[in-house]
Amino acid sequence: MNPPKATDSFFKTFCLACACLIGLLMLSFFVQLFVNSSEAWREFGLGFLFSSEWDPVAGKFGAFPSIAGTLLTTAIALAVALPLAFVSALYLTDAPPAIGRVLSQAIDLLAAIPSVIYGMWGLFVLAPLMQNHVQPFLTETLNLQAVPVLGGLLVGEHGFNGFGFFTAGLILALMILPYVCAIMRDVFKMTPAVLRESAYGIGCTKWECAKDVVMKYGIRGLLGGVFVGLGRALGETMAVLFVIGNIMDVPAALFDSGTTIAATLANNFAEADGLQRSALFALGLVLLVMAFGIQVFAQYYLHLTSSKRGERS
């Protein structure tokens, strides 16, 4: 074998080994979390997922409050962020290029701010604001508290103190907005100009064109964007940890304090040992499985549209 061939085959093998690291890492995430949580699964079985007890003294652990909290904050974040991201993307694709570029970059910078700063801002600025102005306004001035079903969903028996699912959801919404908006912008740009022009040609308004043509054309890409946002919101730790209130309760109302999987992990892991540590690993595994599933969907839908969006992949 002559020298260049030897270096070449070594080079190729080295690159392949590095690339395979990524698959290996992902597999070992699952294996390691599963091995470390096996004690908890043996002790509680699948009931772990539905039990809402969390009593380190008695050695009883359940994942339900954390899972429900994670789902609730994510749902709030999506409900707030999706419409905003959709219409911002709509505006930014149609705006004059100069303005559009500056504003897009400003929104992209939102994604660059470290999450711990979102958390701090939430703790010292947003939470007091919610407590003193927004929540009293909604419950007392508008008197939504007295509305039969809605009131109960909004304010639980603990009242409100600025912390909780609602505040955490709002911060998450702000954090995922730039990601979702960036993907939606790409999707809108990929619609062929001919399609939009024909829509305008038969007399559609801008909104009808967006809703009936652009959205239908790029629905898979939009779904991918939704799932990317969902995955981000699901696993975010610091921003949520600061404002969620960290109480191991199943959510009963939007203004209640509670916890999420990531917040529970961050709060308890350092002091935990034995069965509690195992239970925390089990929570981590639940989070990993949820996030993994969502990412797979996201990548699947984005992949379907990748060639149309002009991405090389």
Partner: protein, 293 residues
């Protein structure tokens, strides 16, 4: 395409259609304003609350427990620098090589597609999971928290980011360059490293810098790996190492004192300025140059 009988088409009065359109336009301007205003609000809060904390002593003294005078953030700054650079040293060569595989050898292969998919998925996994993972493989086995464990955690987060940008950047290099290199009798390895990578140098640098900026603010993976200490980071490999994100977390949540909060805002200001500076710098510097070419 199936045609719709004309008489089933719902008639919508022009007034309602125009009102709906106008409403959406107003809402979209509102949404963009809201997003930009939120960013400005966060920046403003951090700057206005952080500036009073910052003076020379704050930047040059190590952190101390509450009540001890002359407390600062110098050890955390240095610790974050160590951890981030160590993470980069671990991740960059391996991740660039992995990106080279995807772009040069695995462009059409099944394995390449699978690995690309894994990298994409991995970019979206929660960072706290990485913290748990490194905790079990490095902290439990060696028996102590260390800055190095934190660096490994950050390296794992950087890996897929750099891998995917490397691939994207290399894929933009025209094949003619590769062919001319090979035609001169260069080996594949040499062509890739000396010609393809050099042609894509700016893109690679952008990707690396942006991923550095991204991980230098990551907190969750450091909570269980680097932890925190009120000491200079001189025992990087064997003891908890001070770092900025965990310092901010500690000062903001575990302390009732106003002074600690101010110090936390100061630290937040420093890290935010650094991250934003890298972001804006790479956007401007490399975008301008890309247009010249």
């Amino acid at each position: 395409m199936n045609t719709i009988p004309l008489n089933t088409v719902r008639r919508r009065p022009l007034f309602f259609r125009k009102t709906a359109d106008f409403g959406v336009r107003v809402f979209s301007v509102f949404a963009v304003t809201l997003a930009v205003a939120a960013m400005a609000w966060i920046l403003f809060t951090v700057v206005s609350r952080g500036v009073p904390a910052i003076d020379w002593g704050f930047l040059s003294n190590p952190s101390k427990p509450y009540g001890v005078p002359d407390s600062g953030i110098a050890n955390a700054l240095l610790g974050t620098l160590f951890i981030t650079l160590c993470a980069a040293a671990l991740a960059v060569p391996l991740a660039v090589a992995a990106g080279i595989y995807l772009s040069e050898f695995g462009r059409k292969s099944k394995l390449g597609a699978m690995l690309r998919f894994s990298a994409n998925v991995m970019m979206g996994l929660p960072s706290i999971i990485v913290g748990l993972f490194v905790y079990t493989i490095l902290v439990v086995t060696t028996g102590h928290f260390s800055g190095f464990a934190g660096a490994v955690a950050l390296a794992i987060i950087m890996f897929p980011l750099i891998m995917r940008t490397t691939e994207d950047m290399l894929a933009m290099v025209p094949d003619a360059l590769r062919e001319s290199g090979l035609a001169l009798g260069m080996s594949r390895a040499r062509t890739t490293l000396c010609i393809v990578c050099r042609a894509a140098k700016n893109g690679l640098l952008t990707g690396i810098l942006l991923s550095l900026a991204r991980v230098s603010g990551e907190t969750a993976p450091l909570l269980f790996t680097a932890m925190f200490a009120d000491a200079w980071p001189d025992r990087f490999f064997s003891e908890p190492t001070a770092n900025m994100p965990v310092l901010i977390t500690e000062y903001a949540t575990n302390s009732p004192f106003e002074e600690m909060h101010t110090a936390g805002w100061g630290a937040a200001l420093v890290i935010m300025l650094a991250v934003l500076a890298v972001n804006i710098f790479t956007r401007i510097a490399f975008r301008e140059r890309a247009r010249e070419r």
